[in-house]
């Protein structure tokens, strides 16, 4: 997809034209430089990158599978003997591998859920914003309606009814997470719609669908990427809440929420079962939250 760089910047920084950029860079590059100057954000990126690599490559390297029981190491505390660095649970399963596999599931739910959120949110927002009038009114009314619904309870109902397969967890969470994205995208579409290159496209007879796909969506990318980053931790959190309640992914498959629920019930005697998955989840949420905020600050012309 051809992405005119200057236009992204122009959109994400519409009111910024009054502020001269000290370096003469394009606004997008300027924003990236501001992001790179944010030390804490870079550290967050590094930690998150490490967690992602560990979750996807770690289980391939480690000598244990996530379902394997080691009868000689039941409820072993963490230590460097035996390669059970994070200890084992009462079935002798290695906690390090289980934490990494659980993280893989949590991250996959987070990424897939975000992808689905982006697709639905962008489609809904651009169509509502571009069509305007009655279509817009009806579509945004539906979004308003969904804001009033206690989505956690609906998610619980859906998990009760339809079982707990991986893709259903993703679907259930995405069903409600797209409404914020749709609002933001619609707002941006409304301002884009008034610009000359859209008028030009319409004047030359380009159909509405192609205008949205070729001219509006590419210009939304900056905003969408920032909002998607903010969405990831929310989705990971929702998945772990469902799993914690016993309504998400099921044994022997695991996720951070499942491991934390398991660790909670045994924290008196085997605190490491709670500590390691808890630390991984908290670190991931903290880093994604922080990166999202830093991206927003870097691209927001109002924060200087």
């Amino acid at each position: 997809m051809a992405t005119p760089n200057t236009e992204i910047a122009a959109v994400s920084q519409t009111p910024a034209s009054t502020q001269p950029d000290p370096s003469g860079d394009s606004p997008a590059r300027y924003a990236w430089r501001r992001f790179a100057q944010n030390r804490a954000a870079l550290v967050s990126c590094a930690i998150l990158g490490f967690i992602i690599i560990a979750c996807f490559l770690g289980p391939l390297v480690l000598p244990y599978g996530f379902e394997d029981t080691d009868w000689l190491a039941i409820s072993l505390p963490p230590g460097f003997a035996n390669m059970h660095w994070f200890g084992t649970d009462e079935l002798g399963r290695d906690l390090l591998v289980r934490t990494l596999i659980g993280g893989r599931i949590s991250l996959e739910v987070g990424l897939l859920g975000t992808a689905l959120t982006v697709v639905i949110g962008v489609a809904w927002g651009t169509i509502a914003g571009y069509a305007g009038g009655k279509v817009d009114a009806v579509m945004m009314r539906i979004v308003d309606m969904m804001y009033a619904i206690p989505y956690m309870l609906i998610a619980i109902l859906m998990m009760t009814l339809f079982g707990r397969a991986f893709y259903l967890v993703v679907l259930t969470i995405s069903l409600f997470s797209w409404i914020d994205m749709a609002r933001v995208v619609r707002g941006q579409t409304l301002t884009l719609k008034k610009r000359e290159f859209i008028d030009a496209a319409r004047a030359t007879g380009v159909p509405a669908g192609i205008i949205i796909w070729r001219h509006i969506v590419p210009n939304l990318l900056g905003v969408v990427i920032i909002y998607a980053t903010v969405t990831v931790p929310g989705i990971i959190l929702t998945e772990s809440v469902l799993s914690f309640l016993g309504l998400g992914v099921q044994e022997p498959m695991t996720s951070w929420g499942v491991l934390i629920a398991d660790g909670t019930s045994k924290m008196e005697v085997r605190p490491w079962l709670l500590a390691f998955p808890g630390v991984f989840l908290v670190a991931t949420l903290y880093c994604t939250n922080y990166i999202g905020d830093a991206l927003r600050d870097a691209f927001d012309p109002k924060v200087q």
Partner: protein, 309 residues
């Protein structure tokens, strides 16, 4: 204002109806009936049971019957607790949720607004960093991690102590309420203080504050008399979601502390596959949420003179 109230009411009804219908259809689409058990029930008994719960009628009739009962405030019978109606279960659970969530909401509002305001006024001071640290922790440490940590610290026997300070869970006197209220409050304060800080910072840059300072008012008066009120508006709009998530949907807190409230009721209902119970609770909580939103929006319009309809 009157026209707006009517319009909002007309909008609330279809929202509730849509949720009821979608959930009802979802529940009835799932294969299997409530009386499918390992041991086959005698056909005559089954027929009687189905007649009792109107399951022998066509689906549309059943749906209309359910809607009719809902209008009378009857959420139906629980399938897994045979002697209980959903109403009775709710009546038993609601006071618990109200006692915990209902106390946590005002406490967190006061604390959150206060520390958010302090952080905004003393921007970039130690207090400010402290508040944003609390906000970040509240955001990143989910309540199902924080709750067990609270139990570990305050409730369980630790090494030399024979007994913890507070009970780890269950329901009884005031001691049983301290930790759940603390957990809900920490999570809520994280959100409230962040919003309060942001909105007060924005208000402080506006021109009427510059005017107030220019005419020589002491800084205290500028903040308390002029800046605080407009800065409170975004916090007020948080009130609905915080009240609802603390009282009617405190799923995690009630699970962690085994509080017999609405949240635990719905989780247990879901795990036992008690469809009518979960359906009834979803309908009830949605109705409460929609009505609550309506009331707060109307109050909002009444309080803020800039909002005109």
């Amino acid at each position: 204002m009157f026209a707006y109230t009517i319009r909002r009411l007309l909008f609330a009804v279809p929202t509730i109806l849509a949720v009821v219908t979608v959930c009802y259809v979802m529940v009835h689409m799932t294969p299997g009936g409530p009386f499918d058990m390992d041991r086959k029930v005698a056909p005559a008994v089954l027929a009687n049971l189905q007649a009792k719960y109107h399951l022998d009628q066509p689906p549309l009739q059943q749906y209309l019957y359910y809607l009719g009962r809902l209008l009378h405030g009857d959420l139906g019978a629980s399938f897994k607790y045979p002697d209980w109606t959903v109403n009775e279960l709710v009546a038993k659970a609601l006071p618990v949720s109200l006692a915990v969530g209902g106390l946590s909401v005002p406490i967190s509002m006061v604390i959150g607004i206060w520390i958010g305001a302090v952080a905004a006024v003393r921007r970039n001071s130690f207090a400010d960093y402290f508040v944003s640290a609390i906000g970040n922790i509240g955001n990143a440490v989910p309540s199902f991690v924080l709750g067990p940590v609270l139990i570990l610290v305050f409730a369980l026997e630790i090494q030399h102590h024979d007994i913890g300070l507070l009970p780890a869970g269950g329901w009884g006197g005031w001691k049983f309420r301290v930790l759940p209220i603390a957990l809900l409050t920490i999570v809520n304060v994280a959100t409230i203080s962040r919003v309060m800080r942001g909105s007060l910072l924005e208000v402080l840059t506006s021109s009427f504050i510059r005017t107030a300072r220019a005419k020589g008012l002491p800084e205290r008066t500028v903040i308390v008399r002029h800046a605080l009120r407009p800065a409170l508006m975004p916090v007020l709009s948080l009130f609905t979601s915080i009240a609802l998530s603390s009282i009617t949907a405190a799923v995690v807190t009630e699970t962690v502390f085994a509080l017999p409230g609405l949240g635990l009721l719905i989780v247990n209902g879901a795990i036992n596959r008690d469809y009518t119970l979960v359906l009834g609770l979803v309908v009830l909580v949605t109705a409460i949420a929609v009505l609550f939103n309506l009331i707060v929006d109307l109050l909002y319009a009444a309080v803020d003179p800039r909002i005109r309809y």
